[in-house]
Symmetry: C2
Subunit: 361 residues, 2 copies
């Protein structure tokens, strides 16, 4: 296929093609912005690989892809196992793709619970259809969440503001529209003018490759900077607000997000700049009392030492490549969710805005 | 020539080959660490270009290269102008190569003063020889300064420390040995064991390409990180000291250095980690009362958006690429100079350690 080189509000980040015997279609984010290529996943190993190597990335999008991954897994490998067992097995496999974003585990748990709720004497195809419906609901809910997050957060954006963001929390991190960028998109739709500074976000450059591309699509004024320039730009008083997404938020508001977020939070505080996180309720892991329990993925050192297959560093040099860091709640001004703004960020306010913990959380 | 792929204490960063009718030989730092290539500069335009595109970089090395550049300029274009006029003209030209590192202006001013001190009836070749001697003195003084800085700073390094550095302030930033890395080299020579975390230093990756290479040559335990990981590594208590070089230091101690240094200084303070600057006295610009007067070079956006001739960001995205930032003196624990340690960093202590301002400063 020859995809259009630009999309409007709806970037087809993760979609389902067909219904019975359908498959997942992803935009391959490792190829952006140079090429817009779609990748079809027709079995669960392809979904696992796509998550692992970041063809699909961003906590909400990973959750959606995993839920749909259960369906391609059932269609490819289904029967004669009881469907609930098949879902559990597929889920255990998909869980091993990446450890930090809790949306992956949340979506798989929802699929397991749905499977467990289906009567054992339901014909396989009927049960599969119910599970497919559940995955479609997860996809639809994610779309809805992102637009609601945009509505909740947009009042924070004021005319003339400079806004700094890190990594990609846009339409490419979710089924569409995004979380942190969803707030900016909504503010733009409300007629506000603002300027976005985008951290390139080493090592995989999601800011340069994905966020700058999304902002350009929407003709939002954008300046790309290297991550180490954020402090200087803050000192120059060009930034009035920092907004990022999240991969996992503990019960007290401690937030794991792309590596570099914690440093930005410290810098934002030092410069008196508010720091917001935008994320759906599914990004909260309320079993964890605080951020110390969040597993941090450490990725291949070659992501740092090689770019485009060229070595940047001397051979054999050790590199440390944590993909995420944890920002303590005290550094976060507010968390923008589809259920409302959590501000101040503490356990009590989280409980008030999100409600009490349910079994699926 | 087929250069050796490794050097010991003496990396031939900037050298003079021959004497009368000699030329400059540089290690081409844009090609490291993939290739060790030397570049001979036989006219002043080649020296200007080498400074501009960072074949030679680092404040002390730029100063040395500029002083030697005067000599190749005289040899190529000399006469019949009075030699003092020729030196002034060459100096004005070389000054336009890069704006921030004051060592460039300092070295050129020394060459101008030397030229002005030479009696007008001195034969051209004799005058040229006196100027060549002055350039050799600048080179030798730089070597001496770096080793002295190492001696002054080494007591700050303790066994078992984690040390963070940014950009390259090693043998490649000076005629040899370096400033910030000179301190580490000296500590190693004294038998101390420590671990160095190296910021890769976007956009031009001097940390990954040059510092990691120098540390590897000396078998110092090294871990490369992306710039945005420094905060997380500090929070993990892996860093007990930050040490960097400098490009220009104002009379009150405000310090311009590679972009990202200011952010590191804010992060170091937030984590209770001491932050040291290592630089020769020639890096001080004591005419400037504070850092607000330091000109900050803004380089081509393509240094951010392209790596190895591959576009990383969408075409047409604006990028902001300041090469330096200014760290206020209040964030700097001490400045290590060849004349002693300046601590605390304030005007009075600077005057006490460096002496009163002379005409050449």
């Amino acid at each position: 296929m020859t995809p259009s080189p630009s999309f409007n509000s709806s970037i087809p980040t993760v979609t389902w093609i067909g219904e019975a015997d359908g498959h997942i279609r992803l935009i391959d984010q490792t190829r952006l912005p140079g090429a817009i290529e779609f990748r079809d996943c027709r079995n669960v190993a392809e979904v696992w690989e796509a998550i692992k190597v970041l063809r699909v990335r961003g906590a909400p999008a990973i959750g959606v892809a995993a839920a749909l991954g259960i369906i391609v897994g059932l269609d490819k490998n289904g029967g004669p196992t009881p469907i609930a067992d098949a879902v559990s097995e597929l889920s255990r496999y998909l869980q091993t793709s990446r450890p930090t974003a809790v949306n992956l585990f949340w979506a798989l748990e929802r699929m397991r619970q749905k499977a467990a709720s289906i009567s054992a004497d339901t014909p396989w195809q009927d049960a599969r259809h119910l599970l497919w419906q559940e995955s479609m609901i997860i996809l639809e809910e994610d779309r809805h969440c992102c637009h609601r997050i945009g509505e909740v957060g947009a009042p924070l954006i004021q005319n003339g503001m400079g806004v700094l963001t890190h990594c990609n929390a846009g339409g490419l991190c979710a089924s569409e529209y995004g979380t942190a960028l969803g707030v900016l998109f909504r503010a733009q739709e409300e007629g506000k003018q603002f300027h976005v500074y985008v951290d390139e976000t080493r090592p995989l450059l999601q800011g340069a490759r994905l966020t700058a591309w999304e902002l350009k699509q929407r003709q939002i004024a954008t300046t790309l900077i290297c991550d180490n320039m954020a402090a200087a730009v803050m000192r120059q008083r060009r930034i009035q607000l920092v907004i990022v997404g999240a991969d996992r938020i503990a019960a007290n508001g401690d937030t794991a997000n792309k590596i570099g977020t914690y440093g930005l939070a410290v810098l934002a505080r030092a410069h008196g700049i508010p720091m917001y996180v935008a994320a759906p309720a599914s990004t909260f892991d309320r079993k964890l009392p605080d951020g110390s329990g969040i597993p941090i993925e450490v990725r291949d050192a070659k992501e740092i030492t090689r770019v485009n297959d060229v070595d940047l560093a001397p051979e054999g040099v050790e590199a440390y490549n944590p993909a995420f860091d944890v920002t303590p709640a005290e550094f976060i001004t507010g968390i923008i969710t589809e259920r409302g703004l959590i501000q101040p960020v503490d356990r009590e306010t989280i409980e008030r805005v999100l409600g009490t913990v349910t079994a699926s959380q």
